[in-house]
């Protein structure tokens, strides 16, 4: 059983390194974009609220594969900056996951008592300062578990990129079958690989929950 892994080690290694890169970049991107979208959705400016809601409704209801189709096939025809398949995959994953991060963070913002924002505004902090210093940090603390779920979903969604010429972990199985290796065993190793990647995320969730428990 170990033979499949050992004989094709470079294939596995490259695949998973690529997966980790995709995940890390898209995670950072979607957390930033999603948080910005969430603050837009709770802002007092109607245009921002509508834009935020529109983004979520369109992107969240579009299958990820279609988002990939758009960026990999339609985007290059727009004649803008030329981007590699890898970059386009990161963009697709970021755009898609940001919608979910947005709704999770927004749910967190709604759990922060109104008085927190009032006290901040009463001190003379502006709306953006209130969000950054008082509301969003508390919002994140209350949504660690669902946000971790969104990140785990993102990690698994990276495999879709295999269909768009990015050699990540999802592309290992087709490559194995070309080489005439036993696919089932190969898949088993991929599953184990993903398990190993998810474990740190779960550990991080536990640590953050424990550290922030005292806060409220």
């Amino acid at each position: 059983m170990i033979d499949v892994l050992v004989n094709n080690w470079p294939l596995f290694a490259e695949g998973f390194v690529s997966t980790i890169e995709l995940f890390a970049l898209a995670a950072i991107g979607s957390l930033v974009l999603g948080t910005i979208l969430a603050t837009m959705r709770v802002s007092p400016v109607p245009v921002l609220r509508t834009a935020g809601a529109g983004y979520v409704n369109i992107v969240r209801n579009t299958p990820l594969t279609l988002v990939f189709f758009f960026f990999v096939f339609a985007y290059p025809r727009l004649g803008l900056v030329e981007l590699s398949f890898f970059t386009l995959a990161v963009v697709s994953l970021t755009v898609y996951t940001a919608a979910f991060v947005c709704e999770t963070v927004r749910a967190g913002i709604n759990t922060v008592p109104l008085g927190q924002g009032e006290a901040s505004r009463a001190l003379g902090l502006t709306f953006p300062q209130t969000l950054i210093s008082v509301v969003v940090p508390q919002a994140f603390r209350s949504v660690v578990p669902p946000l971790t779920s969104v990140m785990i979903a993102l990690l698994k969604n990276t495999t879709i990129a295999a269909g768009f010429s990015v050699h990540e972990a999802g592309a290992i199985t087709p490559a194995l079958s070309e080489r005439g290796e036993p696919i089932l065993l190969g898949m088993l190793w991929i599953v184990i690989g993903f398990l190993i990647l998810v474990l740190p995320l779960s550990a991080m969730q536990r640590t953050l929950e424990k550290r922030w428990r005292v806060a409220r």
Binding site: G115, R121, A122, G124, V134, P137
Partner: protein
Amino acid sequence: MTATPSPPMIRMVGVQKHFGPLHVLKDINLEVSRGEVVVVLGPSGSGKSTLCRTINRLESIDSGTIEVDGQPLPAEGRQLARLRADVGMVFQTFNLFAHKTIVENVMLGPVKVRKVSQAEARKTAVELLERVGIADQAEKYPAQLSGGQQQRAAIARALAMRPKVMLFDEPTSALDPEMINEVLDVMTTLASEGMTMLVVTHEMGFARRAAHRVVFMSDGEIVEDAPPEEFFGAPKSNRAKDFLGKILTH
């Protein structure tokens, strides 16, 4: 410099406010002079908290004018934020920032709004915490403190902005009886030091002891406005008599 009299610290003229069909503030006219301590009394639902909250525009008004230190209240944005920085507010439910330690709570305003350095803000914060008697709690989180300690921290947080005037919105209503006095003591000291204060409260003892004027509200109106001895000794209106009768008999 000509000898123009300085404007009142708070000036409300013809202020009206509705919550839907409910007329919560009916033609409010009120002035609070520099250094004056005004206590607002009244049954619950009389609009006294709303009145307090309109002064730094946590509640908007339908019509009328509100001026703080001669400046009309700006509608929104940076100018409003700047004005709020000069108006300290203490809430019934403390509203300390739950994710920050006590000393960080006190430092936040000076650092973010007044652009004071961290070190200087911390020094001032510790001094203020000493002044309200909870310097030993500086590194704890709000949830680890008693209600009375939290409210004293909230007062320190407001004072850190060096406000021109302090608004107290029922500061002792959420406290256990044995903690009320520690908060009232801090407030009494503040009043005796010449701070301009508008205090919404049910604490008659504090009103007698510290107030220069008592404003009595009922059904969104200011019914009486008199020095405490006069208000408690000889209330003019039936509504005030009725209110005092209910709370002073036991």
